[in-house]
């Protein structure tokens, strides 16, 4: 249907959307800043790759195992994050990213600098696109369910005020771990898709710059909103393809974008208090008849 190049970009963006959504759960909803999200993604990808190449497990059996193992590892890694807040949490998560990447790079079990290759994908490139699309839709449904559930309410309360949440009967520690478990479970999915789509992974793919790219996506789109995470992932995922000549400056542009957004539009382009949604609401209010008929 599409050319191979377009499909590759589309699958990559689909994976980025899942990653942005998963970080949005941890950082956007629960308010726990994570600058090491690529580490969880890497854990998912390596787990998936090992299950596939060493144990020869098929895609659909490896998938739930990868999600479970990544969620478990994510909640274990969340333990050092429980006692620290904000800036210290940011530094702790950067540390986790470097440690995890170093383990992939230097422990022979994980293939060292050579990474892991020869992961067999059972699908053609175009069916991979449809599978990714279906998983993105499933994640959107799960995300909608999460924010309207008591769990989602607890996560958001912790973001707003930890102490006030605790005295309102919310077990802060338990729900922080839950946020990391759910978030990293989704990165497990993203890692599984990535490993099987690329068929080759290495530690370089999951470094600190990748974490910044994922964070940029949700900050740009509108942190704490699903639409923001999706749109941010699409725009920042497509941009490098369109601006190929400046690809070398990608990190520079993302860094600059982060600063610009923080200064002028901290809620992101689609945040609740941002200019675009406000304009949209204004237009809608001006034409009530239009809304009612529609």
């Amino acid at each position: 249907m599409f050319g191979g190049y377009i499909i590759t970009v589309a699958v990559t963006i689909g994976i980025y959307i899942i990653l942005a959504m998963s970080l949005n759960i941890i950082t956007g909803y629960a308010g726990q800043i994570s600058l090491g999200h690529a580490a969880f993604w890497g854990i998912g990808a390596y787990c998936s790759a090992l299950l596939s190449t060493r144990l020869g497990l098929p895609f659909w059996i490896g998938l739930p195992m990868t999600i479970a193992i990544t969620a478990l590892t994510g909640s274990l890694l969340a333990i050092p994050c429980l006692r620290v807040r904000e800036d210290f949490l940011a530094i702790t998560t950067i540390g986790i990213n470097f440690v995890v990447q170093a383990v992939f790079l230097y422990v022979p079990f994980f293939g060292g600098a050579m990474g892991i290759g020869g992961i067999r994908s059972p699908f053609s490139t175009s069916s991979f696109f449809w599978i990714t699309l279906i998983f993105v839709l499933v994640c959107i449904v799960l995300d909608r369910w999460l924010v309207t559930s008591w769990i989602g309410l607890a996560l958001e309360s912790i973001r707003e005020d930890e102490t006030a949440a605790a005295i309102s009967g919310i077990d802060v520690v338990r729900f922080k771990v839950a946020a990391f478990a759910i978030g990293s479970g989704l990165t497990g999915l993203a890692g599984h898709l990535y490993a099987h789509f690329m068929t080759f992974i290495s530690a370089d793919d999951f470094g600190f710059p990748q974490s910044i790219v994922i964070l940029s996506m949700i900050v740009f789109g509108g942190i704490g909103t699903l639409r923001g995470a999706i749109l941010g992932a699409i725009i920042l995922g497509v941009a490098p393809e369109i601006f190929r000549p400046v690809l070398d400056y990608r990190t520079l542009i993302y860094g600059g974008l982060l600063i610009f957004m923080m200064r002028f539009q901290p809620g992101g382009i689609l945040g609740d208090q941002s200019v675009l949604p406000k304009l949209f609401r204004m237009v809608r209010q001006r034409s009530p008849a239009l809304v009612r008929s529609g």
């Binding site: 008591w150 769990i151 309410l153 309360s157 707003e160 605790a166 005295i167 009967g169 919310i170 609740d272």
Partner: protein, 251 residues
Amino acid sequence: MAFLEVRCLTKEFYGLRALDRVDFSVEERKILGIIGPNGAGKTTLFNIISGILRPTAGEIQFQGARINHLKPHQIAMAGIARTFQIVRPFGNFTVLKNVLVGFGHRFYPGLFSSAYRFEKETHLERAREILARVGMETYQGSIAKNLPLGLKKHLEIARALALDPSLLLLDEPMAGLQYEEFEKLAGLIRGLREEGITIVLIEHNMQVVMDLCERIVVLDHGVKIAEGSPEEVRTDPQVIEAYIGQEETVA
């Protein structure tokens, strides 16, 4: 047996004694006032009762069970709710959503029940009732951080009531309110007591404390210097000294 009993409670911050062997108790369905000059340790006392701080020594018993080793959410679930002197509503939530948070503890223990939708009509209805009690039913859609201070204080009371508490700790609920609002809030507090909620009240406004409370505990520099009925406390020489200051005696 007292409803809430605080025994020999001591709290030290890096060698500084914020509370020094404080004892008092509250009977069920009574209003106890806690007064004292700034820095007397009143808020520290609330922070310990609600589990935010751990005491250095001493014990707190609530309905006959020791609670001073419990975490804040466990204390909330045991039926102790509180408000803050410096308000802490969930700023980006609507007023209604702030109140809904207080219902969550009934659903959190179970993995499946915590996956239920929180915006069910029964919950919304109940939250609106609570808002009506504090006179905020018309603000249910407002974003909490945009409210004026007086309404934020009322919202904190509403959020505390959502826990369905048997003991309510109010930390200076009148501070920052207009004079006309005093009577209304005093009426609300009395009404809650009538319903069976025991109340401990920190308040600077003497008039309010004297009117509302059956008993008053006076703290000064972390030490309980007096306890008794409003009349007894008002005429206590130590209390007068703590508030007005000691006459200088030249040896």
